[in-house]
C-alpha cells in the first residue's frame, strides 16, 4: 500500500473514532468514490500578492488540484481540488466582539488543517470560535464533494456532499448532504440530509427540512457509489470547460476588465459575458452568456448562465443561477440552485434574500416580487405561497411563523437585520463599493495575484504526496 493510501485510512480512522458515539462509520460513504489514483496527477497552486499575508506549509500531505491564499498549515491531510481562501483571516491586534466581551487577537490567524480529508471543498472566512481566535482548525474531519466550511472550525466531523457549515464551531457531528447549518455551536449531532437550520440562541430559530423524496433527485448518496443526482450531472456536464483554464499557463483575458473589477484566471468564461465595475469573479466560477452589473460577485464554484444580474448581487459559494433575471441587491446563498428554463425564465425582484441551499427548478415561469425571503423547493408560482415571505413582514414576527415546512421561532427583526448586515459586509469585503480610491475589497485586491504551482511525487511509494514545504515572503 502506498503512503497516500495509508494516510487516507489513518484520516478515516480518526474521523470514525470521533464519531463512535453517534455510531457513524465514514468508510461506506467514501469507499470506492475517492480518486486516490488522481492524487499524483494534479499540481497544487497558491497565490501571492502584496495585499495578502503569506505563510503556507505542507507536511506529509496530498494537496492535488488545491488552491491556497494567505496563511495555512496542512499536516497529515488530503485536500483534493479544494480552495483554501485565507483572505479574511483576523490580524494581530483586531478586537473581536463576542457577547459582552471584546477580545484582542494576539497573532495573525492561520488556517490549520490536520488529519483531515477534504474533496472539492471551499474553506473561507475566519474562525468564529471565540475560544480560539488565532487558529481556524479543521481536524479529524472528512468533508465530501462541494461542501463549504465557512468560518467554522471542525473537529471529528463528517460533512456530506453539498453541505455547508457556516459561522459555527462543530465537534463530533455528521452533517447530511445538502444541509446548511449556521448555529453557533454544534456538538454530537447527526443532522439529516436537506436540513436548513439557522439558530441564534435566544434570538431566533429557522428550520426547514427538504422532503427526502424531492432531495434525492438533486443529490443522492448510496454507500460505495459515486454521488449522483441533478447537481452532480450539472457539474459533470461542464467539467471539460475547466480543463483548459487549468492546463494553460498564460491565458489571455477574453475582454478588457472594467475599473475595480477582477476576473480570476481560473474562472471559466464563455461568450458572451459583460462585467461591470467592481465585479468579483472568483476561481472555479463559471460564467456563460451573462451580464453582471456593478458590484455583483460570483464566488467559488458558482455557475451563472444565460442570466442578468442588475448589480450588487451576492452569489455565494457554490450557488448556480441559470436562465434568470435578478434585480439589484439580491443575495443568493451557498449552494442554491436557481434553474430557470429557456421557455420559462426565473425573475427575482430586487432586495430579495434567497436562503442558502434553496432549490428553484422551474416547470413554469416564476416571478418573485421585490423584497422577499425565499427558501425551500420552488417549481411553480403556487409554491411561492409557502416558500417566500415579504422581508418587511418577516421583520414584524415576534413569536414565530409556521409556513409549509418552515418553522421559525423568535424575533423576525433580529433574523432579517442579521442577514442584511451580513450581505452588506460581503459586498463591502468583495469591493462592491470601491469608488476609485476608497473601499478596497477582494475585487480590487485580487487584480494582481501571481500564481505559483507545486508538484507531488509522480511515482514510487510517495506518489501523490507532496514534499514538506514552507512558503513565506
Amino acid at each position: 500500500m502506498k503512503k497516500v493510501e495509508k494516510l487516507f485510512n489513518r484520516v478515516l480512522q480518526r474521523v470514525n473514532i470521533n464519531l463512535r458515539e453517534i455510531e457513524f462509520d465514514a468508510n461506506p460513504w467514501v469507499a470506492g468514490v475517492i480518486p486516490i489514483d488522481q492524487f499524483g496527477k494534479f499540481y497544487a497552486f497558491y497565490g501571492i500578492s502584496s495585499r495578502h499575508p503569506l505563510d503556507l506549509s505542507f507536511a506529509h500531505s496530498s494537496v492535488a488540484g488545491s488552491y491556497f491564499l494567505g496563511k495555512c498549515r496542512v499536516n497529515n491531510s488530503i485536500l483534493y481540488k479544494t480552495d483554501i481562501r485565507g483572505d479574511e483571516l483576523k490580524s494581530k491586534g483586531d478586537a473581536i466582539k463576542y457577547q459582552d466581551f471584546e477580545i484582542v487577537v494576539n497573532a495573525d490567524e492561520m488556517i490549520r488543517i490536520e488529519d483531515s480529508f477534504l474533496i472539492k471543498n471551499l474553506v473561507h472566512n475566519c474562525s468564529h470560535d471565540p475560544e480560539n481566535l488565532e487558529e481556524f482548525n479543521i481536524q479529524n474531519t472528512c468533508s465530501m464533494h462541494y461542501a463549504n466550511i465557512h468560518g467554522s472550525p471542525t473537529e471529528g466531523c463528517f460533512l456530506g456532499p453539498f453541505s455547508t457549515i457556516d459561522l459555527t464551531s462543530m465537534q463530533d457531528s455528521v452533517i447530511g448532504s445538502y444541509s446548511y447549518i449556521q448555529a453557533g455551536e454544534v456538538l454530537h449531532m447527526n443532522i439529516n440530509p436537506g436540513t436548513i437550520w439557522v439558530h441564534a440562541d435566544g434570538d431566533f430559530n429557522f428550520l426547514y427540512e427538504y422532503p427526502q423524496e424531492i432531495l434525492e433527485h438533486y443529490v443522492s448518496v448510496t454507500p460505495g457509489q459515486a454521488v449522483s443526482g441533478i447537481f452532480m450531472d450539472f457539474i459533470e456536464a461542464r467539467k471539460a470547460d475547466f480543463q483548459r483554464v487549468f492546463d494553460v499557463v498564460n491565458l489571455e483575458l477574453p475582454f478588457s476588465i472594467p475599473n475595480g473589477a477582477s476576473l480570476d484566471r481560473f474562472a471559466v468564461i464563455k461568450p458572451k459575458i459583460t462585467l461591470n465595475e467592481n465585479v468579483l469573479v472568483s476561481q472555479r466560477a463559471y460564467l456563460e452568456n451573462s451580464w453582471l452589473g456593478k458590484g455583483a460577485n460570483a464566488q467559488e464554484n458558482c455557475y451563472i448562465i444565460n442570466s442578468k444580474l442588475m448589480g450588487n448581487n451576492v452569489t455565494a459559494h457554490g450557488a448556480k443561477i441559470i436562465n434568470a433575471d435578478m434585480g439589484t441587491h439580491v443575495f443568493v446563498g451557498f449552494n442554491s440552485f436557481l434553474n430557470g428554463k429557456p421557455g420559462h425564465r426565473l425573475n427575482v425582484g430586487s432586495d430579495c434574500i434567497v436562503m442558502p441551499h434553496t432549490i428553484i427548478d422551474l416547470e413554469e415561469p416564476v416571478a418573485i416580487p421585490d423584497g422577499h425571503l425565499v427558501w425551500g423547493h420552488i417549481s411553480r408560482m403556487k409554491d411561492l405561497e409557502t416558500q417566500t415571505y415579504p422581508i418587511s413582514k418577516f421583520a414584524e414576527i415576534k413569536d414565530g411563523l409556521i409556513l409549509g415546512r418552515l418553522l421559525f421561532e423568535g424575533d423576525g427583526k433580529a433574523f432579517v437585520d442579521g442577514f442584511k448586515a451580513r450581505i452588506h459586509h460581503i459586498l463591502e469585503a468583495n469591493g462592491a463599493f470601491y469608488d476609485g480610491s476608497k473601499n478596497h475589497g477582494h475585487a480590487q485586491n485580487n487584480q494582481n495575484i501571481s500564481i505559483n504551482t507545486i508538484q507531488p511525487y509522480s511515482d514510487g511509494e510517495l506518489e501523490g504526496l507532496y514534499p514538506t514545504i514552507r512558503i513565506t515572503p
Binding site: M189, N205, E209, D399, G400, L407, E409
Partner: protein
Amino acid sequence: MKTYKVKDLMVPLSEYAMVPKDASLYDAVLALEKAQEDFDHTRYRHRAILIADESGNVIGKMSQLDVLRALEPKYGELQDRHGLARFGFTKKFMKSMLNHYHLWDGALEDICKKAANAPVSQYMYTPSEGEYVDEEAGLDEAIHQLVLGHHQSLLVTQSGSITGVLRLTDVFAAIFHSMKACFIE
C-alpha cells in the same frame, strides 16, 4: 455475576407479535394484544410488532409511538424521526404547532376508520444495521448496541435468520437482578 449470552435473554420469534406487511393497523394492534395475553405474565409486556414479508422474513418493526404517529399522518409531513426538541425550539412553540397543523383535529374521533385502512407497511420502521445482534453474542456487545443506538430492542439472528428479539427491558432486568445478588451475597 452470571455471564449471559443474547440467546439467554431473548424472546423467541414465535412469542412475538408479527403481522404480514399488507396487514392494517388494526390487525397489528390485535396481534400485539394476543401476544401480550399469551406471553409469560410475570414478564414485561410486549410493546412492538414485527412486520414480515411474503416469505415470513422480518422486514420492519412498529413501536407504540409508530402506531400513534400513524393515526395522525400529518406527522409524516413534518419532521424526521429524531424530533424537533434537539433543534432548540421551545415547548410553547411546539405546542403552537398542534393548532397550526390541526394535529389530531378529528383524528381521535376517526380512529376506527384510520385503524382499518392504514397499512402497517406505510408506517413501519426498517431496522438499521446496528439493530441486529447474533444470538451467540455476549451481553456486553448487546448493551453497547442498545446504548449507542438508543434502541428499545434488537433483532436477534442466527446464521442470518432472525430468531428472536432482545428487549431493553429484559437486559435491564438481568442486570438489575445481578446487582441485587451482589448485595445479598
